[in-house]
């Protein structure tokens, strides 16, 4: 982590916060601009690309969770009719990874495989089936190594190491940060609660399996179409591994058939098909099987947590100490950032005067974990919000009232130096309490029925890029056409969330045209300026602000030309309904197309650019790069459950959720993001788990995915989805485009703890673990019946040797954002790549 330097002074963003009455596009529920393509099946996903002479690629994957590769013999496979090429690790030896500090992946494993599914060879053939068959003809000689199945085993097993880097042994990353004297905080408390929680890993399960098609362009360059959320980072990884000039590589992110964070890493299969296309000089496609998608993973980290919280009798928090033990899987992926994220956002919802965080991520021989919707934060949010429910009960305060007492203030700098924007958590809580009739339901519903409440906050875009640089995080170019059309060029990547619609809507709003008049060229590294990618809920705020700037600049040129033509002062001109006219005499005006022609005649070709760089964060300590955001969204949810005490089955009939969005740009899509988050949260709360098991010893004792299929990996169906009442709290935040904050991830976060709290309200047992399966409920009910603690959850948190914490005095103790004891800290060096935050 590096501290920040002053970002490039960004050009002032023209203030464009029109009132709601003036909006024709923004705030109006609308069919998304790419809606027609999606309902006619014409949206072209990566696997829908078929090119002449196209060959197919399959990856041979390791059947062993941990092994050394003694040798690979590809001769028989190469001799197979219809096989064009077989690649192995030595063909792509350069390591890569999403974060500069963990470049620990190889496109094809060279010496060592680290999880079942790690690829060791690639076959490219005329037919996909030929490639499948030929994989059986590759002979790999493995030397089986001991396997590490979970973090506690990793802590206890320093050798063999899964990787030769990291803290020590099989510990990948340790973090220790202290903001104020937490022990002092506990000493001042009336009650100190200590709880352990476990959050099981789960996976994104996008319906689209990852696919990529690469070609050697006619001019000899490389083009790859891929289902990626981060074309810019893939571009960089390809340049590195293929040792090619980035200028000779074009990455086109096809619309993603669902991402949820699972398509945010550069993947081995993308690099392999690129290499194969260059070698064969023909198009090469790969589409992963569903089983392979489970091996790509990068999903939710399993996290064991210990929360120690001190409170006054009135609910005031005096201090929080959080420890996490994180199961990273076999590679770094985003894991260093995930480890920081697991401790970063606790301070954003309620006022915490003193806070200590210790996190430890270990390597295990399982598919790598990474960023899934909420990246690193749903696990500790679950612990925090369930513990608050316990605190409320202990203090005999209604859980909603308790939270209302301690909500953090807007525009505050938190103990860990996160600068908050608007904070409408109070309104969110009040709203869900009202619409759910909370006061008449909580602790008052009949036996087996219960309600639970929980809250959350989330970033509206990571404040720092993944690799150290001072450039904008998002850029937009506009081309104005004489016919009245406007083309948008931007690296932003459409993953279903509606980034294309957001860009079209914003540009149309500023220029007074229809979104249908706009053409979009997005997610293409050759066509558009960089946008860092669809992660961290950053696109609407960052690309949206860049789009406003570009559109306002174009509008200014048009206004100047029209002003001269009509002899009307510029500030009297109005852009609306595809016209530019005198606001005092609306009949006097020109069409939008004529305005462009006038401007082009006067200034030459009309094209404008806009860019966005987030504000500088006050968090200057090492690790302070993870957590800052231009502003944060807030959510509060009430979940109702019915628990069957005979079967342990949890039925969710209804969810009420209020989300502090700032401003809903297209309310139809916003509602979809909220409901989609509730859905995914319920899946995590009740059924989804990425589980592994050891095969019997007589078979191999290998650690395998328990059920790498959609049938066995349970996710909610249309029959499971409850009624959802969504309320949007709209209080525009000046940092967001037209006041908008994020909605794609935040509303997921309160669901899991709200379900756990509701289960307690229904049957009086605490399930301190997700997923909350019938089996766990039955066990907890049995404990209750036996007169023991009515709870299911982890019974301990292991002893971990933590490094000395970086001590950062909070703002109210005179802190300046730096650690007072960071003696080893390097001076930031602007040319050196360093890990910042995703």
């Amino acid at each position: 982590m590096a501290e920040q330097e002053e970002p490039t002074k960004s050009l002032p963003i023209v203030d464009s916060q029109p009132s709601r009455e003036g909006s024709r596009v923004i705030g109006v529920p609308r069919r998304r601009v790419d809606g027609r393509a999606k309902v006619t099946g014409q949206t072209r996903f990566a696997d829908d690309i078929f090119l002449p002479r196209m060959a197919h690629c399959k990856l041979l994957r390791s059947p062993h969770p941990h092994a050394r590769i003694r040798s690979i013999d590809t001769a028989r496979a190469l001799a197979r009719q219809g096989v064009y090429l077989v690649l192995t690790g030595k063909d792509l030896p350069i390591q890569y990874g999403i974060l500069p500090v963990s470049q620990d992946e190889q496109a094809l494993c060279l010496n060592q495989v680290r999880h079942v599914g790690d690829p060791v060879a690639a076959v490219v053939a005329r037919e996909e089936l030929t490639a499948f068959d030929a994989m059986d003809l590759i002979d790999v000689d493995y030397e089986i190594l001991p396997t590490i199945s979970d973090p506690e085993e990793a802590l206890a097993t320093s050798a063999p190491r899964i990787h030769e880097y990291g803290e020590e042994g099989n510990i990948h990353k340790q973090v220790a940060l202290e903001f104020g004297d937490v022990e002092q905080g506990f000493a001042e408390a009336d009650e100190v609660l200590e709880d352990t929680f476990f959050y099981q890993g789960n996976t994104h399960l996008p319906i689209e399996q990852h696919a990529s098609v690469a070609i050697k362009d006619p001019d000899g360059k490389l083009t790859i179409w891929s289902s990626t959320q981060t074309p810019h980072y893939l571009h960089r990884a390809l340049a590195k591994v293929l040792e090619m000039a980035p200028a000779h590589i074009r990455v086109i992110a096809t619309p993603n058939g669902g991402g949820f964070g699972g398509k945010s890493d550069p993947f081995n299969h993308e690099i392999v098909v690129a290499k194969a296309a260059l070698l064969l000089d023909r198009p090469v496609k790969i589409c992963l099987t569903r089983e392979e998608v489970f091996y790509c993973h990068r999903g939710r980290h399993p996290v064991l947590m210990k929360f120690k919280t001190g409170v006054k009798r009135d609910g005031t928090i005096t201090g929080v100490h959080l420890q996490t033990l994180i199961d990273g899987g076999a590679y770094g992926s985003y894991g260093v950032a995930s480890t920081y994220y697991a401790g970063a956002l606790q301070t954003t919802t309620y006022h915490i005067p003193r806070y200590r965080y210790e996190g430890c991520r270990t390597f295990t021989n399982k598919p790598p974990c990474g960023p899934k919707r909420g990246h690193g934060t749903p696990q500790p949010r679950f612990g925090q919000e369930v513990q608050l429910d316990k605190i409320a009960e202990k203090l005999q305060i209604d859980p909603a009232d308790l939270r209302l007492r301690i909500v953090e203030n807007p525009n505050t700098v938190t103990a860990n130096f996160l600068k908050l924007g608007t904070v409408n958590l109070t309104e969110c809580i009040q709203r869900v309490v009202k619409i759910s009739d909370w006061k008449n339901r909580f602790r008052q519903l009949p036996e087996r029925h219960g309600v639970g409440l929980a809250c959350s906050a989330y970033l509206t875009g990571a404040g720092l890029p993944i690799y150290w640089n001072k450039m904008p995080h998002s850029g937009v170019q506009l081309k104005f056409d004489r016919g009245g059309g406007v083309s948008i060029f931007c690296g932003a990547t459409e993953i279903g969330q509606g980034s294309d619609d957001m860009l079209a809507g914003i540009v149309a709003e500023v220029l007074g045209i229809d979104p249908f008049d706009v053409r979009l060229f997005t997610g293409d590294t050759d066509l558009g300026p960089v946008d860092l990618g669809s992660y961290s809920s950053r696109v609407t705020l960052m690309a949206g602000n860049a789009a406003i700037q570009a559109a306002e600049r174009g509008k200014a040129l048009l206004a100047e030309a029209v002003s001269l033509k009509l002899e009307v002062p510029k500030d009297r001109l109005c852009f609306d309904e595809q016209r530019v006219f005198d606001s005092t005499a609306p009949d006097r005006g020109v069409s939008f197309a004529e305005a462009i022609c006038l401007a082009e005649a006067r200034f030459g070709t009309i094209g404008t650019v806009g860019s966005y760089t987030p504000p500088k964060s006050p968090a200057l300590y090492k690790g302070g790069g993870v957590g800052p955001s231009p502003t944060y969204s807030y959510s509060a949810a009430v979940v109702e459950v019915e628990v069957n005490p005979i079967t342990g089955w949890v039925h969710v009939p209804k969810v009420w959720i209020a989300h502090d969005i700032g401003r809903a740009l297209n309310p139809t899509l916003v509602r979809g993001q909220v409901e989609g988050s509730v859905y995914m949260g319920l899946g995590e709360a009740l059924m989804e788990e990425q589980e592994f098991r050891r095969l019997p010893k007589r078979l191999s004792h290998a650690l395998v995915h328990k059920f790498p299929s959609m049938l066995e990996y349970k996710s909610p169906t249309s029959l499971d989805m409850p009624e959802v009442v969504t309320e949007l709290i709209e209080d525009p935040d000046a940092r967001g485009p037209f006041g908008a904050k994020e909605v794609g991830q935040g509303p997921l976060l309160p669901i899991m703890p709200a379900v756990a709290n509701a289960v307690y309200d229904a049957v009086g047992v605490r399930i301190d673990e997700v997923p909350i399966t019938p089996e766990k409920i039955m066990k907890a009910l049995a404990e209750k019946k036996a007169g023991r603690e009515p709870r299911f959850g982890p019974d301990h948190f292991p002893q971990i040797k933590w490094p000395e914490a970086l001590r950062v005095p909070p703002p109210w103790e005179g802190g300046d954002g730096n650690a007072v004891n960071d003696t080893h800290r390097e001076k930031p060096h602007p040319t050196k790549e360093k890990l910042l935050a995703p």
Binding site: T40, F50, G82, E127
Partner: protein, 177 residues
Amino acid sequence: MAIFPIESQKTAQVRFTLNGEEVDVSFAPYKTLLEVLREDLGHTGTKHGCELGECGACAVLLDDKPVLSCLVLALECAGREVLTVEGLSNDGRLHPLQDAFADCGAAQCGYCTPGILVTAKALLDANPHPSRDQIREALSGNLCRCTGYLQIFEAVEAAMAKIADETKNRTEVRGGS
């Protein structure tokens, strides 16, 4: 001279009706209807999420009934009628379900959408006024990871109302003439 691998041999030939139009297609006999539609007939509107009959993304109508095209051999389709998302619109006009899905936010990433659209069409064709529970039941084999399903239910209901209106108007026009 290399022997042509068996998997490349398009030895099967089938004639069936695809979206109202008769097609002849030659393909390797092991191929599923899904593969033949996408790879041999260029109809990529039908998607796949598992190729094991688990996700519902590849649903098409075979003789008006929803089937998972990844579990149907193309050879089984001789002489039968197949309807895919490409065949939903009529005379350049979107089917009311398509309009409603686009308007109601029922398609986010759009990947499960083609399978859901044809499944919903089969439902409305068989039962013009399904209840919310019947809609849930009919779509329970189609996984969607984006929407949380609610906007999909609403879109089906909106289409249902529109189709009912259109039917009523048609009847009235006919009755009046």
